[in-house]
């Protein structure tokens, strides 16, 4: 499949890709575009489930003990199950499949100018394992005892002993689903790296690769380097649950803290695994809609490497007060706060890109700019939590919760909408409705801030996470605090209602939208040089690359963009 060495391209290329039957085109595809969309659609369905869970438990917090419309009574057990699986789903079944597997699959071959992934069947297998893992997770909600409720970090002994968790099979199916999912992404990941290394269009040097592709590849490398310990831990946890081993049980000579180290050694790089793809997508969108060359392409790239490298030595900042030696914390404070250095530089470069631009506020650009604004809040509040002494007060409080929602919501939801609205014309060959897109943007962005800004205050007031009813605590049952909870819940409902605008816009535009030209945004990257949607095999003639991806508004040229594959005059 690799075309990197194919210096001579002919028109006969397309003949290798004859039309396939429905079964092989959509159900058992090897085409990276269809596999990417399978991931994206699965992720979007899981996002609906995750959002529904959030609705149910936020209603319980705002109106404790009352029947939740469309759900029913949320007791302590259901509450634990809902928060646990909300977190699991949003990170492992929405952020990962949509941003990395979904857009990685769709974008990498198109943006580097080749006809498919280098291992198309491995790619198909990867999605199929992912689908199985999704089904296992959904099954776990319905087994006897209910779904797992030991928090998405699943600290043992709670998660490893059925008498403690009271969810015997729920816990086992949960860890099985997570492990299967990692296997799937390992298969996908090796494919992404190999494809980018070997199958780039002739002329595309490393420094000509669009940032979106670069960051997905860096993210995948981080993922593959960090996931090993967690898969080992997952197997040990599963054996503790089902075979009676005692890796994490002190009564049998094990240690509960071992799991925390294994989990967070993966868990912290994981934050950057999901952050980087969105950062890359946002870089491309900002450059296109401000008609500006990216400010310091190499700097941005190197800051991503530095962030990735540092992310491997910060994991114990999740465990400052978990019973580790307090002296160790000092080391991790230094490394954690150091991460602000590359990330600040990256952020400054993005903002500097806007300088001297000609900014057009299309929907994708609104999403990209709102990502920068809200991720900034998520980033600076992280400094509080990296400081170990403040973590004594804030650990597992709503301050932490608000902080990481200010990172994960922009990354996952805002990033997903930015990418979907930007590449929608390429995916489906039709344009989305701009007006509905903007209504949906404001209807999501404003309630999002109304949900999570007040939660910082609740954190300051000493409110802890994962408690199903704060009326049990006199210091937290104050009416003023309850009013804040109700406000956040109402904002969440408003946010969820506005998603119907998106769903309507998405499906109506897919079938009835205005036909999209090949390059509706006047962008430079290779995916815009083929037809919308691209044919099986992507390009009629495989492109040759002559320049970097960000040559916008070059002085002396009439057009303000200069596609990568346009031969020099």
């Amino acid at each position: 499949m690799s075309q990197a060495t194919a210096a001579v391209q002919t028109d006969t290329h397309a003949e290798h890709h004859e039309e396939l039957s429905f079964l092989y085109k959509y159900i058992l595809p090897v085409d990276h575009k269809i596999i990417g969309m399978q991931y994206i659609f699965t992720g979007m369905i899981m996002a609906i489930i995750g959002g529904y869970f959030a609705y149910a438990f936020r209603m319980q917090l705002a109106f404790p003990g009352e029947l939740v419309p469309l759900y029913g009574l949320v007791g302590p057990g259901e509450y634990n199950m809902l928060v646990t699986n909300h977190g699991t789903i949003m990170i492992f079944w929405v952020a990962m499949p949509v941003l990395i597997a979904g857009f990685g699959n769709f974008l990498i071959p198109l943006m580097i100018g080749c006809d498919d992934m280098v291992f198309p069947r491995l790619n198909r297998l990867s999605y199929q394992i992912f689908l199985v893992s999704t089904l296992v997770l959904i099954t776990s909600f319905f087994v006897a005892g209910g779904g797992f409720g030991g928090a998405w970090t699943s600290y043992p002994p709670l998660s490893s002993v059925a008498e403690y968790s009271r969810t015997d099979w729920g816990a086992s199916l949960w860890i099985l689903a997570v492990a299967l999912e990692f296997v799937s992404f390992l298969l996908g990941g090796i494919n992404f790296i190999t494809t980018t290394m070997n199958a780039r269009a002739p002329g595309m040097k490393w420094m000509d690769i669009p940032i979106a592709v670069w960051f997905i590849v860096v993210a995948v490398i981080l993922f593959m380097a960090s996931v090993g310990p967690l898969v080992a831990g997952a197997v040990m946890l599963f054996m503790d649950q089902r075979l009676g081993t005692t890796f994490f049980l002190p009564s049998g000579g094990g240690d509960p803290l071992l799991w925390q180290h294994l989990f967070w050694f993966f868990g912290h790089p994981e934050v950057y695994v999901v952050l980087l793809p969105t950062m890359g997508i946002v870089a491309d969108i900002i450059s296109v809609f401000s008609r500006k060359k990216l400010f310091g392409y190499r700097t941005i790239l190197y800051t991503a490497f530095a962030t990735g490298g540092l992310s491997f030595i910060v994991w114990a900042h999740h465990q400052f007060i978990a019973g580790i030696d307090p002296r160790v914390a000092n080391v991790f404070v230094v490394t954690t706060v150091l991460i602000s250095i590359p990330l600040a530089e990256m952020m400054f470069s993005y903002i500097a890109t806007l300088y001297g631009g000609s900014i057009e506020f299309k929907t994708p650009m609104l999403w990209a700019l709102s990502f920068l604004a809200s991720f900034l809040i998520g980033g600076v509040t992280g400094i509080y939590l990296g400081a170990s002494a403040l973590d004594i007060y804030f650990h597992d409080s709503y301050f932490v919760l608000a902080h990481f929602h200010y990172t994960f919501f922009p990354i996952t939801i805002i990033g997903m909408f930015a990418a979907l609205t930007y590449w929608f014309p390429k995916m489906f060959g039709r344009m989305m409705n701009e007006t509905l897109g903007k209504i949906h943007f404001w209807g999501t962005f404003v309630p999002f801030n109304c949900i999570f800004l007040p939660l910082f205050l609740l954190g300051l007031a000493g409110q802890n996470r994962r408690v199903y009813n704060f009326q049990n605590y006199p210091d937290l049952a104050k009416q003023e605090l309850q009013d804040i909870r109700i406000f956040a819940t109402v904002s969440l409902i408003v946010l969820l209602l506005f998603q119907f605008v998106f769903i309507y816009n998405f499906f109506v535009s897919m079938f009835k939208g205005e036909k999209a030209p090949n390059n509706p945004w006047n962008a430079n990257t290779l995916e815009w040089s083929t037809s919308s949607p691209p044919p099986h095999g992507n390009f009629k003639i495989l492109p040759t690359v002559y320049r970097s991806a960000y040559e916008y508004s070059v002085p002396g040229r009439e057009k303000d963009y200069w596609p990568q594959n346009e031969p020099p005059e």
Partner: protein, 259 residues
């Protein structure tokens, strides 16, 4: 700012609140600077007919200084934060000041057991006083605690003390606190511990010496009425509504001392 929401009832609560304030000032400055730059650039360089965007690669020194100089300032601020933080952390978690009294705290699904050392100041002796979900301490005495768990991970969390520590089965974790303000405060479990995690609360009461001795006597002769049970279903008030926030510590006084 924390002291407007939660009482400041231990000796190191003020240190943590001040650390919060220092970090807020530093990152607040950065946040408004960066956010302001972002908003300004978005408005200033919005698309206008006939105006073409500039071509800036961001590779020359004259251009990169705009991101590099703020960046060096970030490093300087980081060093300040790290230094202050480590000072506070070493104080609270790494050093054990000499103790006046001792208490053993045991978490289990889903209640707290407390063993007060009694007059002799030693645990596992005849005069130990055991309670469930009710911890009694004296003001201005330094307490050491031995934190244990019988089953899963728990977390001993007292917001009014700004204190939090995980309890790990199979280990005894020691630490200290010194209450400074009388009153009854929430004590919560802050680590997911299963079905009853949400109700695993207790009450911690800081007594004057006299009231402490009375309460201990009541517990021993069986006439004690649990503070935890009495508080259930009630709602407390913000510190700013009950009494004036300790004037020496408040933000206004701190600012006044700066200027």
């Amino acid at each position: 700012m924390i002291e407007y929401f939660v009482h400041r009832a231990s000796s190191f609560a003020g240190d943590i609140d001040n650390l919060f304030l220092v970090i807020t000032l530093i990152i607040g400055f950065w946040f408004f600077l960066t956010f302001g730059a972002l908003v300004y650039l978005i408005i200033r360089f919005r698309r206008k007919e006939g105006v073409k965007a500039q071509y800036i690669a961001g590779e020359k020194h004259s251009e990169t200084k705009w991101t590099h100089y703020p960046h060096y300032a970030v490093i300087a601020m980081d060093v300040v934060i790290i230094a202050i933080n480590i000072m506070v952390w070493v104080d609270i978690k790494q050093t054990l000041p000499p103790r006046d009294n001792l208490v053993r705290i045991i978490g289990q699904q889903w209640s707290w057991s407390f063993i007060h050392a009694g007059p002799d100041g030693e645990l596992d002796t005849q005069d130990d006083v055991a309670t469930v979900n009710d911890l009694h301490v004296q003001t201005d005495k330094t307490y050491h605690f031995e934190l244990q768990s019988r089953d899963v991970l728990h977390n001993f969390s007292v917001p009014a003390f700004r204190l939090r520590q995980d309890a790990v089965p199979g280990r005894t974790i020691s630490g200290w606190f010194k209450p400074t303000k009388t009153g009854t405060y929430d004590l919560q479990c802050a680590e997911m511990c299963g079905y009853g995690h949400g109700i695993m609360g207790a009450a911690i009461t800081v007594h004057s010496e006299e009231s402490y001795n009375t309460t201990m006597a009541q517990i021993q002769n069986g006439t004690y009425e649990s503070h935890f049970q009495k508080r259930k279903g009630t709602k407390t008030k913000f510190p700013s509504n009950t009494s004036k926030v300790d004037d020496e510590d408040s933000f206004a006084v701190l600012l006044a001392s700066v200027f």
